[in-house]
């Protein structure tokens, strides 16, 4: 059963001010309705004025994603009633969007690149936000916060060319990285990216899943929905064309009541705004180095593997961090940062920007000098990250190594320990003698445990070999 997925991604642009008024978009730490004015409250008589910076940001995306920018595009009104929508219409773009076509290349299954084509990119304003007081449908009342009302969004629509949740995640990762490289998007702002997905099994009706509000949610929601649809096909149940909501907390999609979705948005051109004639602006936009170019440069300049380069450039902050700490030792910095550090950060849900450069760089130097084993170095790294997470000033690696006695010792000083490990594990020794391959690793592991990682495993393996020869 072939899976067909298309995505619609709404992304907040990180302009200083809103799309049609001068209110600040940086509202997340402030109280409700503190970033509002007559315009974004939709008070009678107010008029929108297009924020030029937002248009330029959107054009940057269009250029980076290889879109065509038509000579003429326009804003339109999408009319519907909802308490978070103060004008009872959203200013968006309808049949004349800012940009058409374009593509993003992602890593294909089994190597190489796969090109995912885009349908269009258009601009629109974000509505406000409802805050329900009390619980459930029977809550006593709902409050409206208009801080978000009027924040600029771009909506990026893909062709239905993604074939698995994993591809969708890769696509979004690549898109997010590109948007961050362009300096127009801040992924750390909560709710700054929202995804709707169209999902079908080839030969059956398509289902739209709305309300996916996180990167992690996308893969989960798609996986759930595909499993649901395949299950229905196996049971010979009919898949109906419908809109479903993703319930983040439960990880499931549920059918939206069909009546609620029977909208006729009565689109028409926004009479308060002149058409956008901005195709000539595109030439003047200078693009920064984008993820693919940076990946290739990393491979060439630092001599690191494509996988490491791809991982390190897949996030702007990580790429910048790598370039700050790598000097003179990319062969150590690349695997450490892409494999070890990234894992530790994901485990802690910690942004790379919080890692203290100086300490990390010093740790890599200790590794390079060979003064600690990899195992000990990971222990030091974890300690430093934990100290940062707990709001303490982190200790320098040298200090930690000395305090905990983690300094790598010469192998010969462990001969006694090795001898006693061999004595205690006669069965493993016998296995080794009879040629069992895994036995030596077990013995090395036991020695590492006994020395709390201070020994170099290769050295220990050599000593074990020497001792058992006798």
């Amino acid at each position: 059963m072939t899976v067909i997925i298309g995505l619609e991604i709404h992304c907040q642009l990180n302009t200083k001010t809103k799309l049609f008024c001068g209110c600040s978009t940086d509202y997340r730490d402030d109280g409700p309705n503190t970033h509002v004015c007559p315009v974004c409250l939709g008070l009678p008589g107010t008029l929108p004025v297009t924020n030029k910076q937002a248009v330029i940001y959107a054009l940057r995306v269009a250029k980076a994603l290889h879109c065509e920018v038509p000579a003429f595009s326009e804003f339109a009104r999408k009319n519907y009633f909802y308490p978070d929508l103060p004008k009872a219409f959203q200013i968006t773009q309808y049949d004349k969007p800012l940009a058409l076509g374009g593509y993003i290349e992602i890593e294909a299954e089994g190597g190489g690149e796969k090109r995912i084509e885009l349908t269009r990119i258009h601009m629109e304003e974000d509505p406000g936000r409802l805050v329900h007081k009390g619980s459930g449908d029977r809550g006593r009342y709902t409050l409206v916060d208009y801080n978000r009302s009027g924040v600029p969004l771009i909506e990026i629509v893909t062709e239905p060319q993604l074939s698995s949740p994993k591809e969708a995640r890769r696509f979004l990762n690549k898109l997010r990285a590109t948007l961050e490289y362009l300096g127009i998007y801040d992924s750390e702002r909560e709710g700054s990216l929202r995804v709707d997905a169209n999902i079908s099994i080839k030969g059956y009706e398509r289902v739209e899943v709305k309300n996916i509000t996180s990167y992690k949610g996308v893969e989960k929601a798609l996986t759930f929905e595909i499993t649901r649809q395949k299950g229905m096909i196996r049971r010979n149940a009919q898949i109906v064309r419908e809109t479903r909501h993703y319930q983040e907390a439960r990880g499931v999609t549920t059918s939206a009541r069909s009546k609620e979705m029977e909208h006729d948005y009565r689109y028409f051109p926004e009479p308060d705004l002149a058409p956008l004639e901005v195709s000539s602006w595109v030439e003047e936009i200078a693009l920064p180095e984008l993820p693919d170019a940076r990946r290739d440069r990393f491979m060439q300049q630092y001599g690191i593997s494509q996988n490491h380069a791809r991982t390190l450039t897949g996030d702007l902050k990580l790429a910048e961090f790598f370039e700050e700490v790598t000097s003179g030792m990319p062969e150590i910095a690349a695997p450490w940062t892409a494999d070890i550090l990234l894992g530790e950060l994901n485990y802690r849900d910690m942004p790379v920007t919080k890692v203290p450069n100086l300490h990390y760089r010093a740790l890599l130097e200790e590794v390079k000098k060979g003064s600690v084993t990899d195992t000990s170095a990971v222990e030091v790294l974890r300690l430093i990250l934990n100290q940062v997470m707990e709001g303490q000033a982190p200790e320098m690696p040298g200090v930690i190594i000395a305090r905990l006695g983690l300094s790598k010792e010469e192998g010969e000083s462990f001969v006694e320990v090795v001898a006693s490990v061999l004595k205690e594990n006669e069965a493993a020794v016998a296995d080794h003698r009879s040629g069992k391959a895994g036995a030596i690793n077990f013995l090395v592991g036991q020695v590492m445990k006994a020395t709390r990682g201070r020994a170099d495993p290769k050295e220990i393996a050599r000593i074990i070999g020497d001792l058992l020869k006798d």
Partner: protein, 432 residues
């Protein structure tokens, strides 16, 4: 230097919804002059209802751009005038605050929708007033009340603070007892405003001087077509002869697109209105029932009881005209017809300097005379073309028919307000 104007007149014609008895004013070209403002222009701290129950009690936190300009010119804003609800009407009878009477004959309507502003000026309560004109709402009451009213070119006066009925058609404009005052108020409110994306950067209005000799004035035959009262036509024809006597060259011409103008106007204005008026839902302003029903039910209850019949009619018709499956038949066709009107004006203005004709096809209606909305819509036939094309147009008193005032309409080229005001001044003063 600030002073306070005390307004102690009665309001026998119900021209006002809100009267400000004490109004502060400053220095400037309008220093100390009492000015009335139509109640669909946002005034900070002064209740602004648009003649609707749904906005009763709404006190805006901000001034519209024209109000800011009025205040800085020293004007004393002494009240908010009555109007057809949200500008939808030709009589000022569609107001939640009762009808306004015509000072020329209190059994008659003043015209609309800026009927309160026209009545306040015509009765001498104020020297000048602001109105708004979407399809004739300044020129119609000016004509019916016997005063001067100007609808500026689209983009000439900022619409920031004008509570929208039909955004692509309407402008704020002056009403006054004479052309000089009308031009004075116009010169204060005209100008570029970055808060209105459709506002234009244009040279400021020139000083006014009577000037009509040598002007080529086109008179489309359609302006005297079917439905135009014969007495009104005759008064306006003799007015046009006076223009000729003053040295103008009168050129008969034709404007075939007139037959599509009313349909284009009503489809466009109702479509835009259906969208503009969605925001009146009781959440942020206006009265709302303390209801625990679903928001759907609360919205429809508020909107059903808050809007008057004509407004509900236009919202429904506009929603229909924009709906899927019908948009191509109505809204899109109206835009095509609108382009034909614009093209017709452009063609005519290659050979003439301005157009002249009656402002309204009739004299002021009796209060309660017309209850059929369609025949009321037909009365706008001569005023809507200027709104569709965005060109300036004014109404200047031209005499009487049936003992009631008749207005002469002059329509100018885009941004040629100075030219039609100068011609109107020459006409008013009888000198070229």
């Amino acid at each position: 230097m600030g002073s306070t104007f005390t307004f102690d007149h009665d309001d026998p014609n119900n021209a006002f919804i809100t009267i400000c008895r004490q109004a502060d004013y400053g220095d400037g070209p309008l220093s100390g002059i009492p000015v009335a403002v139509k109640d669909n222009i946002s005034t900070a701290g002064i209740e602004t209802t648009c003649g609707s129950k749904i906005l009763k009690g709404y006190i805006p936190p901000y001034d519209g751009h024209a109000i800011t300009l009025l205040r800085s010119a020293g004007a004393a804003i002494i009240g908010k005038t009555n109007m057809d609800e949200f500008g939808m009407g030709t009589t000022t009878e569609n107001s939640a605050y009762g009808p306004t009477r015509n000072p020329a004959d209190p059994t008659r309507a003043p015209g609309g929708s800026s009927g309160g502003s026209a009545a306040a000026v015509a009765s001498g309560l104020v020297r000048m007033a602001l109105g708004t004109d979407t399809g004739g709402s300044i020129r119609c009451p000016a004509s019916f009340c016997g005063i001067v009213g100007l609808k500026p070119s689209y983009g000439r006066v900022s619409r920031y603070g004008l509570i929208a009925y039909a955004n692509s058609l309407e402008q704020i404009g002056p009403l006054a007892q004479n052309v000089r005052d009308c031009a004075l108020l116009y010169s204060v409110i005209a100008g570029y405003d970055p808060r209105d994306g459709t506002s234009l950067e244009l040279p400021p209005p020139a000083p006014l001087k009577p000037e009509i000799a040598g002007k080529r004035i086109g008179v489309p035959t359609e302006f005297f077509g079917e439905g135009v009262d014969l007495d009104v036509a005759s008064v306006v024809r003799s007015g046009i002869s006076r223009l000729e006597d003053l040295g103008a060259e009168i050129i008969p011409c034709s404007m075939p697109s007139m037959r599509y103008a009313l349909a284009a106007y009503y489809v466009t204005s109702m479509s835009e209105a259906s969208s503009n008026l969605g925001r009146y839902d009781g959440v942020r302003y206006g009265t709302a029932p303390d209801s625990f029903r679903s928001w759907h039910d609360a919205y429809s209850q508020i909107r059903k009881s808050g809007f008057g019949e004509e407004v509900r009619r236009r919202i429904l018709l506009g929603s229909f005209a924009l709906s899927a499956g019908y948009q191509g038949k109505y809204y899109a066709k109206a835009q095509a017809a609108r382009r034909m009107v614009r093209d017709d004006f452009a063609r005519l203005f290659r050979t003439v300097d301005m157009l002249a004709g009656p402002t309204m096809p009739c004299v002021a209606f009796r209060l309660g005379e017309t209850s059929d909305p369609l025949s009321m819509y037909l009365a706008d036939i001569l005023t809507v073309p200027a709104n569709l094309a965005g060109v300036p147009a004014l109404s200047v008193p031209c005499g009487t028919a049936h003992n009631l005032p008749v207005g002469l309409q002059l329509i100018g080229k885009h941004y040629a307000e100075d030219e039609i005001l100068s011609a109107a001044l020459a006409f008013e003063e009888g000198s070229a």
